[in-house]
């Protein structure tokens, strides 16, 4: 063993820059492997989360209460709130988990004038007048309202706290539970209260949990809505009769939003339309239509995922080939460079097997050390799916060692000792 270590160390020192070049090459390969692993993990998780939605068409519902005068007339009807509530309940009953309400309506939150909140402002990316908005005591923050079916269907993963229960979707008269995007995590804790206004109604929000980074949802209008800077609210249902006119107006406006949801269905369009007609009929609400059927959003996402997967495979395969080829070439060059010393070892009593073991040990060392360093770095910095990552690196290690050692082994097999001695002349 000592002899092997001694020879490996000397061989590494003898062609220092050559060894460094190989080590860099292998480290690069492990880093690329890490990037591919992370990308793959992300794509796979996205693909897994979207799998239940594969082959669905999105039917966006829209109330027909336009122009404003028509809307105003409807809101002034004494039974309009009951009508809206009935319609919403019937939509949920008819379409069940296929009816998803996901709407990004901003919520105003009472916050200090701190620059850190800027990216959380509603419209930040679209160039909202941040400086002017900051002067307000209630800042308009990005928020998403989601119904219970939506919450279940998108299976929003949490890093802390608890998700919404069925009761959370019914307003208790005091507080509203919310989930905060991952970027909120440094600023709030589970259980914190947030003073807010939603559709001009004063509310207290309770932080119930934090969403994992890079979580996204989507609807008819937003193919990918990342929740990192969003406040996620349950799409509330109000079981009690409103006590004031303002309350009633608030509920009416709120339910008007809830009925403009999306039906995710794999059924034929005429079936969806027939079912909707039935809901309209039993709810006595005729101003409702399907704005459009859109399978492109999901198709686009699935084909994008497929393209990403294929691209990833091609990239991984090409990079792997290039790296393996260059490592093999470098090792063979090193082997040929060592002909003279091999002859001296043989004349000193070594066997070819011993000489091969030196090369093998060197390959083990040169592949193993960068692999170990990259794996430990990953554990320190990233740590995502560490078990799988370690398994992948172990396999990568084994494959590189095998592929690098194979040409050497073949060279050794056809090697004639006399040729070594001739080369030493």
């Amino acid at each position: 063993m000592n002899m092997i270590l001694r020879e490996v160390w000397e061989s590494l020192k003898r062609r220092k820059w050559f060894s460094v070049l190989i080590a860099i090459q292998i480290t690069a390969l492990f880093f690329i492997g890490t990037l591919l692993f992370l990308t793959h993990t992300r794509i796979e998780s996205k693909s897994d989360r979207l799998q239940p939605l594969d082959e669905l068409t999105l039917y966006q519902l829209s109330d027909g209460l336009v122009p404003d005068s028509k809307l105003q007339a409807f809101l002034e009807q004494p039974d309009s709130l009951d009508q809206l509530k009935t319609l919403y309940q019937n939509l949920e009953a008819q379409f069940e988990e296929r009816y998803i309400y996901l709407f990004n309506q901003m919520i105003e939150v009472k916050l200090g004038d701190d620059q850190k909140w800027d990216p959380f402002f509603h419209g930040y990316e679209q160039g909202a007048p941040i400086e002017r908005l900051k002067k307000r005591s209630y800042k308009p923050m990005k928020a998403v309202q989601i119904n219970e079916h939506g919450f279940t269907r998108f299976s929003i993963p949490l890093s802390k706290g608890a998700g919404f229960s069925s009761e959370d979707f019914h307003y208790n008269g005091n507080t509203i539970p919310v989930l905060l995007g991952a970027k909120y995590e440094p600023f709030y804790n589970v259980g914190d209260e947030i003073t807010a206004k939603y559709i001009q109604k004063d509310l207290t929000l309770i932080v119930q949990g934090f969403i994992q980074p890079d979580t996204f949802v989507f609807n008819y209008n937003h193919p990918e809505l990342y929740l990192d800077r969003y406040i996620v609210m349950p799409a509330l249902q109000f079981d009690k009769i409103p006590q004031t006119e303002a309350d009633e107006l608030f509920q009416k406006r709120h339910y008007l939003q809830l009925i403009n949801g999306t039906i995710f269905s794999d059924e034929e369009p005429y079936v969806v339309r027939r079912d909707l007609e039935q809901v309209k009929k039993v709810s006595d609400f005729s101003d409702m239509q399907i704005m459009g059927a859109n399978s492109d959003t999901l198709n686009f996402m699935f084909s994008a995922i497929q393209v990403n997967k294929n691209l990833l495979k091609i990239m991984a395969g090409s990079l792997f080939l290039v790296c393996i080829l260059s490592i093999s070439i470098l090792m063979i060059t090193k082997f040929q460079d060592n002909y003279r010393n091999m002859a001296i070892h043989l004349a000193s009593g070594a066997t070819l097997n011993q000489l091969f073991s030196y090369f093998l040990a060197e390959i083990f060392f040169m592949v193993g050390l960068p692999g170990l360093v990259v794996t430990l770095l990953y554990r320190q910095v990233i740590e995502v799916s560490f078990g799988m990552y370690t398994l992948m690196n172990t396999m990568l290690f084994a494959v590189i060692v095998l592929i690098s050692a194979l040409p050497l082994y073949l060279q050794f097999r056809k090697l004639e000792i006399s040729s070594l001695l001739k080369r030493s002349e």
Partner: protein, 223 residues
């Protein structure tokens, strides 16, 4: 000590087969010092490699004392080499990345000796060849004569019965050549058997017997 009978060895050169050894017979007695001369490509080095157990003949018998080397496999021949052979390769053949001490100690590293034993043996050989002061030097700082002394020290470190030398003075000046040949003569006086492959008549004249190699066979010139 050594009996070679009807040794045959050929190489493929392109599509042509070249017979390097063609029924070679040779007897070497314990304590002999013999030179093998011949033109380049006549098979001298091949013969030396076979004697060292580094190469094998295609057919024929190689007997060392009571042992048939020609029937051994690679590992057995490595053991034989380690135990009985001291090989001085052309152009000194020292490993640049090792210092003098490590170059000399190399054969001992394959013998599972303790550090102390290795140190003792190397010290003894260094003293015998009067190169103790060189032990920690890098080999690329040595003169040709010093390098050859180190190569001889490495060949002697296992205290072999048989010393094989391939053109041992080819790269040396006359004075250094004479010093090296003196060392060989002393070793022979101590009972070592030496087989020296050379082109140099001066070297051959130091030996008790000179063989000439031609057409894959050896024949004595003087005795």
């Amino acid at each position: 000590m050594i009996t070679l009978k009807d040794l045959r060895k050929s190489y493929e050169v392109g599509e042509r087969q070249v017979d390097v050894l063609n029924g070679l017979d040779l007897e070497i007695k314990q304590g002999d010092m013999l030179a093998i001369m011949g033109r380049s490509g006549s098979g001298k080095s091949t013969l030396l490699n076979i004697l060292a157990g580094l190469d094998t003949a295609d057919s024929g018998v190689y007997q060392y004392k009571q042992v048939y080397i020609s029937e051994m496999n690679g590992n057995q021949r490595a053991q034989f080499r380690k135990k009985h052979i001291g090989f001085i390769v052309q152009n000194f053949a020292l490993i640049d990345s090792k210092n003098v001490f490590e170059n000399i100690a190399l054969p001992l590293r394959y013998s599972k000796l303790s550090r102390g034993e290795i140190r003792d043996r190397v010290d003894r050989v260094l003293a015998d060849l009067r190169i103790t002061e060189l032990q920690s030097k890098a080999v690329d700082t040595l003169s040709g004569g010093e390098m050859q002394r180190v190569a001889i020290a490495r060949a002697l470190i296992q205290n072999p019965d048989l010393i094989l030398a391939d053109e041992p003075t080819g790269a040396l000046d006359e004075q250094t050549e004479a010093e090296i040949l003196d060392i060989f003569a002393k070793l022979n006086q101590q009972g070592k058997t030496l087989v020296v492959v050379t082109h140099d008549q001066v070297v051959a004249d130091y030996c008790q017997q000179i063989y000439y190699m031609q057409e894959g066979k050896v024949a004595p010139i003087t005795s």
